[in-house]
């Protein structure tokens, strides 16, 4: 009997499910951004595939019980990515989809910068960059003390790697052998003042983490198969070392006219463009 090259139907279904989740996360992000007319929509679109893999597959969560002791902890350092996290939390049903309409409005549970006390499923108050990994170390140590097998994920950005505290934390994580910790760097080459590589070049990032004692992988962060394979592998390794995934992503991914727009940290979208954005996202996702 010849060897089959047919894809595993279970895996095919899984990837299809994740692609659909990524599409809905992007849609959820557009819905929120439209409320404000502007925002961190470029970043939300670029990290949607990573969030789909996390919130629709890798993270062990109970949305109906956000503080469930057995949950994986996913710490978002980059508070301004709140729009993306809310999109993923709504997709995972931590709160109703309709609530996305309140994004960054008065008295909303969804403030512009993510804060733990406001939103179910948000673990830390990010925003001042360089904090997340230091906190993740404490959470990872705490889980080990409790013999809790849950994992800690920390989502950082390439710009955030400028902060020295991230590297303090990287050294501490390796020293304490925090192998229940997975850092994910959204490498979109964009920060507040321009291209990251022109602000303070951090490459080769993979080698930097490895030299700090981490296991590092680098993939196309908009390739769901690659992200899924890498995160599964990083979680399964038993090496006594913390792990890092560097995800190269494209700002505005999935909405071609935003991908091509002048790259901006904080993007404006004209009122008439929102329908077009949804349309282009649908077309891209189906192609």
């Amino acid at each position: 009997m010849p060897e089959t090259t047919e894809p595993d139907p279970v895996e095919t279904e899984r990837l299809q499910r994740l692609k659909e989740a990524a599409f809905r996360i992007r849609t959820n992000a557009l819905v929120q951004a439209e409320v404000q007319g502007q925002g961190y929509i470029g970043q939300a679109l670029d990290i949607a595939d990573v969030l789909a893999v996390l919130y629709a597959d890798q993270l062990n969560l109970r949305p109906e019980d956000p503080e469930w002791e057995g949950r994986d902890r996913c710490l978002l350092s980059i508070g301004h990515y709140a729009i993306a996290l809310y999109a993923a939390l709504a997709e995972a049903r931590f709160f109703p989809l309709e609530e996305l309409q309140t994004y960054a409005t008065d008295d909303s549970r969804l403030p512009m910068s993510a804060m733990a006390s406001y939103t179910p499923g948000v673990e830390i108050s990010g925003g001042s960059l360089g904090h997340g990994l230091t906190i993740a170390n404490g959470v990872a140590l705490g889980l080990k003390r409790k013999s809790n097998p849950a994992f800690v994920y920390n989502i950082l950005s390439d710009g955030e790697l400028n902060e020295g505290s991230t590297w303090e934390a990287a050294a501490v994580a390796a020293h304490h052998r925090l192998d229940n910790l997975i850092a994910i760097v959204d490498f979109n080459d964009q920060q507040a003042d321009g291209k990251s590589s022109q602000m303070l070049g951090m490459d080769p990032v993979e080698a930097k983490f490895e030299s700090f004692g981490w296991i590092a992988r680098r993939v196309d962060g908009n390739d769901i198969t690659a992200v899924l394979t890498a995160l599964e592998e990083l979680r399964s390794l038993e090496a006594g070392r913390p792990r890092c995934l560097i995800a190269d992503t494209k700002l505005g991914k999935g909405v071609d006219f935003l991908e091509d727009r002048e790259k901006l940290h904080f993007m404006s979208v004209a009122p008439e463009e929102w329908t077009m954005a949804h349309d282009r996202l649908k077309e891209t996702s189906q192609s």
Partner: protein
């Protein structure tokens, strides 16, 4: 400083011995490393308690916990931001961390982490920090003369300035029991025992009258309470009746007790091991003004300067915070009053 050859001739100088840690005078009753021993005792009773340090366990007395219960202690190296972030993460998982470094590093270097990861999240993290105010002769790099000023504006944070080993021993379990962040100005090494001579117990958030007096009120915090009590005894010999109100918790301030004592007609001074900007003096004056008490309050504390390096006894006199200088200040203030009475 005079460095001409004449002064380099052999002579009796106060040297580095006087610059280093121990605040105790010869013959004084002391307890070694009261913070460390109190933490061991607490950790044996409460399995949530863990200690952390940023390469200063030995110099903040946390080595006592480290050596007695090594599995309850974490070393993060010389990385204060990582220290406070890790403490926050441990508290999020239900532990009660005591994190130690020097006051200067916790406040100046790691402020953002203390503010956002610990205070904003209102976590039960207890920062126990050594070398507050003028307790080292190493100069501004080590002298936390403005730490309270830096921290008083931080919401949720409780700030404690203990007087002695008694205060530290009694405070430790109360800091852990308090469901929120705390910052304590720790005295390390051989720490004097002072307050057990009085009818006193430490209560978080409370000011306590250590000795009453009809003529002068010293509102005092931290190690200055020991000097205030010494000054009161010396003045007693001169028939000056001095009250000492000890305020070990600087925030939240026990305004009820302070305002009640301010209402009595006495000469009032504040005593603090801190710049007179942003510490006890400001806090007391703020409370008094807001309550409509318009009374002269004279601050005894460190000047608004970067302090010199040198031996502590020299510096305490130079900056007016030694017992002798407190006595002198009170006599200066009282003199015109007494003249008036004679008239």
């Amino acid at each position: 400083m005079n460095t001409t050859p004449d002064t380099l001739a052999p002579q009796k100088r106060l040297t580095s011995d006087a610059m280093s840690a121990s605040l105790a005078r010869e013959g004084q009753r002391v307890t070694a490393a009261p913070l460390g021993h109190a933490l061991v005792e607490l950790a044996r009773r409460d399995e949530r308690v863990v200690g952390l340090s940023a390469d200063l366990a030995k110099y903040t007395d946390l080595h006592i916990l480290r050596d007695a219960m090594p599995d309850r202690f974490y070393q993060v190296g010389m990385a204060e931001q990582a220290l406070l972030g890790m403490a926050a993460g441990l508290a999020m998982e239900g532990f009660v961390p005591f994190a130690s470094t020097y006051s200067v590093f916790a406040t100046r270097r790691a402020y953002d982490f203390l503010c956002l990861d610990i205070a904003e999240a209102d976590l039960n993290v207890n920062m126990v920090c050594a070398l507050p105010g003028l307790t080292t002769g190493y100069g501004p790099s080590h002298q936390a003369t403005e730490d309270v000023a830096i921290l008083r504006g931080m919401p949720n944070l409780t700030i404690v300035d203990p007087c002695d080993a008694v205060d530290i021993e009694q405070a430790v379990p109360q800091l852990a029991a308090h469901d929120g962040p705390t910052y304590t100005r720790i005295l390390r090494g051989k720490v004097p025992r002072v307050l057990d001579e009085y009818d006193y117990t430490f209560e978080l958030g409370k000011a306590k009258m250590i000795r009453d007096g009809a003529e002068v009120l010293l509102i005092s915090t931290g190690l200055m309470t020991e000097r205030a009590l010494e000054a009161a005894r010396e003045l007693e010999a001169d028939k000056v009746d001095v009250a000492v109100l000890h305020v070990p918790t600087l925030k939240p301030l026990d305004e009820d007790t302070i305002l009640r004592e301010l209402a009595r007609d006495r000469l009032v001074l504040t005593c603090e091991n801190h710049t007179i900007i942003g510490g006890l003096f400001d806090a007391v004056a703020h409370a008094a003004i807001r309550d409509g008490i318009f009374r002269q309050i004279t601050p005894i504390g460190l000047p608004d300067e970067f302090l010199d390096a040198g031996a502590l006894p020299t510096l305490n006199d130079r900056y007016g915070v030694s017992t002798a200088k407190i006595v002198e200040k009170i006599k200066d203030l009282l003199h015109p009053r007494r003249t008036e009475r004679v008239d």
